[in-house]
Subunit: 451 residues, 2 copies
């Protein structure tokens, strides 16, 4: 058996890419890598007992793609392998949306492949990335600082995508294609081969190879180990994250502190999502373990503590500085709270539901205008039946979610006295009574609600 | 404050290199890196509240080293920092033992540093490796396939060794030394700068830097994350290894199988010690999870199963093919078992301690000569009082350690019948009785025991 076949079989076994009796859809572009993959799978399909099919996609970018489809179709027919093809409009979408052409093309291609897969009961989609591609991607990620996840990404089985040629070098593919007389089209445009990848491919990696002839294998092995470490650490992180979780996306500081730095970093990375980077993660851990109460990174990430908990928020600062003059009568939009406040002036004869937390009524005569809407401030106090109360204590007593407290609209008079903590509690100022003649009626409704 | 000082302070804080009120011994060679480290520590010692001292070592390799010691001593005096120095004989030892010169030098230097440290109550020894050194080492290990441990090794605090300059580039050190007018000696010989490191330093890494200007920081961050992951995984591995351990260095297969691949690999790596590499670790895991019973790698590593356990041995094959003709009377050396067998021919009048497992007596008349000594074979049977017994069962019943069974010397007669399983059990062949006139007396003694 040719060595290249053995290598592919070994890769399939090692990473458990395919099970017996599965159906594998080969993504074939007509280039040397994917045509070689087709030839190899045609030879090994009976050994590993799988069925194969070929899918090719015309991205609608280049005029040559018709020839490519033809060559794939003919070779598939020759090998008696079912052939599927689709046509996209990546260039059109790119020109219209200004989105990155390569991204659009990849997205459309993947969508097509998955549709063919679903419609024809394939189990896996095989991509023809080779060992050189892998090593290039590895170094691109390492040198740009994307962390282990990025570095090992090409080895991972992502849902239904597998890469059975990842253990085979470009050179081995070229030799095999030549010996076997495999037809293929040379993609002259190579539109997805970036300048960055070219520098790696033609300058940096060959120079490394001249000193370290086996470095590609070492990088591959390293990634395989790291990928499995990564999988385990992800599982541990998920368990620990669940363990420190309290209500409302708050996390226990006491339970966080004793975790190992490795898990702390992964937890914070998880909570930050795509905003995570090495420095931010470290800064947040340092903050959590400090005596500080609030912390923000850039304009978008806010971390704070409440009692023994910390929480992370995106896109909402702790203090919203905006305020709005209330239109009376009229509708005032409060985008921060995602609500509108409707105000009307009504006769006092009307009956009001004083228990409806989404509305409040005031004796117009006792109000100091203009009335405005702002958000909580340090030291806010509200006058209620039993006297004055700190707004902070009110929020705690009434169990207002801590993470939304800063965006609760607060209606205040011209002295900045709190009239209504919208949706939470009315003050005792300007209560309506027997002598009330004109009533200010306020109601909050979600921004999305049609009036 | 100069940026370089801030960077060193940050590194000290980040990796928790030094605690308040500790004493730090700076290893200073007279080169630019370590002289700069001395200058920096002299400036920050009051900020971080540490005491410092300087130690320099003449390896006895080059004639210039006297000048180097002098320059370090003078600069230390100028800064009023305690100065220690020592002299070694690395070249002599190298010439005599043929051991690698650099290894000998490093060993002697470290011994000296630790002696100074102990004698003068220092807490840490600071080495002057910089960020470029780190990145070079990182790539050397990555490209040669030494795994995460090697890759992160320079970041780790190894016992008392710290590297406070690891966040500072060679360029920053050069600029600082120039601005501050720091005296230093250019080491023209650079005897420890290998050809390999030179390729990285002057060719590969500059080329990478031209495409990825910040790659050194990314590599450093990557290593910091990996080092902490590594620490956690090591802890988990130690716990799991303890958990699957049974008696006599046997490990439970049932408890091993459900572990994650990451931990399986680390456990096997741990058990293999310095013989571990990626392929061997994977082969052994595959063996353990297979139905096979025995497995060997090269000439030195043997893995086998017994019941629900597996065990790994170094340097001893399962089957020792050698056999020895017993010298009668005389001494026969059995190196595999690390014993000698003494044989004598005695009168039957003598009294023998039949319970002494290290000796056995036979009626000379009933023995078929020549008598020889060999090791266990598949299907071995011994004749005992109750009949015949499988040697394997005898070992099990008498709780002979499984890992030494294959090297127990077995005395057999000319028909290859077992006379004596040395130290374990005598057969019923040629028992001495009333009519015995001549007795063959055998005794095993350790090879090291003088007779």
């Amino acid at each position: 058996m040719e060595e290249i076949l053995e290598k592919v079989l070994k890769t399939i076994e090692k990473y458990k890419l395919i099970q017996k009796n599965e159906k594998v859809l080969l993504a074939v572009s007509g280039g040397i890598d994917s045509m070689t993959m087709l030839s190899i799978f045609h030879k090994i399909k009976d050994i590993i007992q799988v069925e194969i099919g070929v899918a090719t996609f015309d991205h609608g970018i280049r005029s040559e793609s018709k020839d490519e489809i033809k060559i794939v179709e003919e070779y598939s027919k020759k090998l008696q392998v079912p052939f599927f093809f689709g046509v996209g409009n990546a260039l059109k979408v790119h020109l219209k949306t200004k989105r990155n052409l390569e991204d659009v093309a990849r997205e459309q291609r993947l969508k097509f492949l998955r549709e063919v897969k679903e419609a024809n009961s394939f189990n896996k989609i095989a991509l023809a990335h080779n060992k050189n591609d892998f090593v290039e991607t590895f170094f691109m990620h390492l040198l740009k600082g994307s962390g282990l996840k990025g570095i090992t990404s090409m080895l991972a089985i992502e849902e239904d995508l597998i890469r059975p040629l990842v253990g085979v070098t470009r050179e081995e593919i070229e030799n095999y294609a030549k010996n076997e007389g495999i037809p293929y089209i040379i993609d002259l445009s190579n539109y997805n081969l970036s300048y960055e990848r070219n520098r790696l491919r033609y300058q940096i990696l060959p120079l490394i190879k001249s000193s370290y002839p086996n470095f590609m294998d070492h990088v591959l092995n390293f990634s395989d180990i790291a990928l499995n470490d990564e999988n385990l650490l992800d599982k541990i992180t998920a368990i620990e994250l669940e363990g420190i979780k309290r209500q409302n996306n708050e996390y226990s500081i006491n339970l966080f502190k004793p975790l190992s730095l490795s898990i702390k970093r992964r937890i914070i990375k998880e909570l930050l999502g795509e905003n995570a980077n090495y420095e931010r993660v470290n800064m947040i851990i340092e903050f959590i373990e400090s005596n500080k109460k609030k912390f923000s990174i850039g304009k978008d990430i806010y971390v704070a503590k409440t009692g023994n908990s910390f929480y992370i928020e995106h896109g909402t600062p702790f203090t919203i500085e905006r305020s709005y003059i209330l239109k009376i009568p009229g509708i005032t939009t409060i985008p921060e709270a995602e609500v509108k406040i409707i105000s009307e002036i009504l006769e006092s004869k009307k009956e009001f539901d004083l228990n409806d937390k989404t509305s409040a009524v005031f004796d117009l005569n006792f109000l100091k205008f203009p009335i405005s809407v702002r958000f909580r401030k340090e030291g806010d106090i509200i006058e209620i039946e039993n006297g004055k109360k700190k707004l902070q204590d009110l929020f705690v007593d009434l169990k207002v979610r801590r993470d939304i407290r800063h965006k609760v609209p607060i209606v205040v008079d011209n002295d900045d006295k709190i009239l209504w903590v919208c949706g939470v509690r009315r003050s005792t100022i300007a209560k309506i009574g027997k002598d009330t003649r004109k009533v200010l009626f306020l109601k909050i409704v979600p921004l999305t609600q049609n009036l």
